[in-house]
Subunit: 375 residues, 2 copies
């Protein structure tokens, strides 16, 4: 969160933070970037949160251009050598299939297409403009439908392989469960991806920063520091925020109080319950805070000696890790595997490291050299 001192104009929705303002950044963590950060281990950036960027993410792309980083991207998948195949588990994980990546694309295209084809045009008439969500007001009814409800509607149209691929995709996208994620939210993402599987892959999981998200965050940081107007304190959790007519007071858990003309709070939803607001937040916000995010994605990196896995991907909707694929080669010549789990079958990597390794090696045999994750 950010506090502005009294000696400058205020933040506005159109102008942002007017340069020239003195800003104090109070950050509970020991670094910038929130969940979008990368950790450099052995000369390789492991992405701990937000990873992939694309020119179809307009606001992110504007900043990438601002910092002249358009050539600083690399592509995640590499099918040029090694196993070059797609493993699919069906029948509750009992049946294993070794398929081609073309099969993988075909399965996801056909099954996702059926999932969104509520209007005969794969959702295009329901949400034609992703950035103007309610352009067609009929779309609101989709929020009464869970992903599980919609899956039940098309059950008879799906092959067993399609159903497995689709379930894993929906769990990857929501990070939650089929019963708790809204069909509306899935449709929103689908619309952002131009209502196409190619769009979803390109926009969401193809291009990443060669040097990691933190290399990007540092550009913001260094620019802000260069103004001479930014002051900051890390490792500074907040206990309360109180508004008075003239000033806003921010009290740290350590007891200190900072006062400012304006406070911009970027505290994450799941942390807001630890902070007392005066006056209290609205009932609706309090409800949202009590509910918290439905998404508790597990993101687990493995550095493995198996070079052939660089071109491998897997889907297993019954596993604690529903999606995994080769995402890079480390300076040591090892393969970097990135994998994702959802609430539906939740894995906390640090709880039992042997269990965590088993979740990976059950997908395919692999020689794990290193696991990287973040709570």
């Amino acid at each position: 969160m950010t506090a502005l001192s009294r000696d400058g104009p205020q933040w506005t929705a159109t102008m942002g933070l007017t340069p020239g303002l003195k800003v104090l950044l109070l950050e509970a963590r020991d670094r910038i970037g929130g969940r979008s950060w990368s950790s450099n281990i052995g000369g390789y950036p492991f992405e701990m949160g937000g990873t992939w960027v694309h020119w179809a993410q307009p606001h992110v792309w504007r900043e990438i251009c601002r910092y002249n980083m358009r050539s600083a991207l690399e592509v995640s998948p590499d099918y040029t050598s090694g196993r070059n195949s797609f493993a699919l588990y069906t029948a509750g994980g009992k049946d294993a299939h070794e398929l081609t990546h073309a099969d993988e694309d075909a399965l996801l295209i056909s099954s996702i297409g059926k999932f969104f084809n509520v209007d005969g045009r794969q959702g295009q008439t329901l949400m034609p403009r992703p950035h103007d969500e309610f352009h067609n007001a009929d779309v609101l009814a989709c929020d009464d439908l869970t992903a599980a409800d919609r899956l039940a509607q098309i059950q008879d149209e799906l092959t067993g392989k399609e159903e497995a691929a689709l379930k894993a995709w929906l769990l990857l996208m929501s990070g939650a469960s089929l019963e708790t994620s809204s069909f509306y939210e899935h449709l929103y993402w689908w619309s952002l991806c131009e209502h196409s599987y190619k769009g979803a892959v390109d926009f969401l999981i193809k291009y990443k920063f060669r040097d990691g998200q933190s290399a990007f965050a540092l550009k913001f940081w260094n620019e802000a520091l260069s103004t001479g107007n930014l002051h900051y304190i890390f490792n500074t959790p907040i206990s309360s925020i109180s508004d008075t007519p003239d000033l806003t007071a921010v009290t740290l858990t350590a007891g200190n109080v900072f006062k400012a003309r304006k406070v911009i709070s970027t505290v994450p939803l799941n942390v807001l319950s630890t902070i007392t607001f005066s006056p209290p937040l609205s009932d609706l916000k309090a409800q949202a805070i009590a509910t918290g995010h439905i998404q508790h994605t597990t993101k687990l990196h493995a550095e493995v000696t198996n070079a052939d896995l660089r071109s491998w991907s897997v889907i297993n909707p019954s596993s604690e890790l529903v999606f995994a694929f080769g995402d890079g080669t480390t300076p040591a010549g090892n393969t970097h595997i990135v994998s994702f789990g959802a609430n539906a079958n939740h894995l906390e990597p640090e709880l039992d490291i042997e269990d965590t390794k088993r979740a990976l090696t059950d997908l395919t045999p692999m020689q794990i050299e290193r696991l990287v994750f973040h709570n």
Copy 2:
């Protein structure tokens, strides 16, 4: 062009114009917006230059969000009533075909696909990343090939209808001629449109501002004015710009001289030859200025009483107007037709108004109530 006074910090590539700077805008025209402006006639915005916007235009979209205009868009085509057909002229304009819009899409998809399929993947391997143009250096060779050269390579693969559709598309995209436009430039735009016809239509000619481009430009203008730091003079052509170590002097054709610490010149290429620079611009820039833009698109609007033309479109690569379609309904209940011509067969609408009307009515009979254009 914009001049900064001495009493503030300078413009930088990362910070832009630091707020707080005093800025003097010297504008040769009587309005803001350059070629992107709309003229409100009879309560209807006729777009005189840049028209269509999309969230896949990242920088424009960022500004649309900034001004909360995401719901201020409307869709150009409307196939819900009227003639609902596509007219195609082949054989040098001698043969007329009345087809469906589905036929139109199919013809353009197949022919454009063949045009860009130099690598078996419709150009995707040659220019995978539009914002990192030279990512694959092989793409540079495409600049030695004209659109006409590439067309000759695939001549035997095209049907007569495909050839007509493709030629008109290339003339619409370049605004020039097949012999003067570079295959590289066409490929660049194709890559920006996700290497797909759907992308090209959606990103380039589908969504426009309900109230016209000038409604958008006024948002910038009003924000700049609200800072109190913007001064401006319209109808102010420049005769020379001289750099000295401390200041830059801008001399108007009227004789007045303004001096500033920094000058940002946004003078269009075709106007630069009228301005003397001291020190002179580089030889390469001088060459570019002497060559000028190869593109002299004719954009001609017609307001016609024929309601059935709202859902009509036409392609005639041999006409002075290679592309036209119904683009809206005016408050008077008339149909707005927008049409485009290129250098290849150039039309200057104001030279002979009867000739201009004939170019339109040769495409299909129509009762013209009003012509709108801009030199």
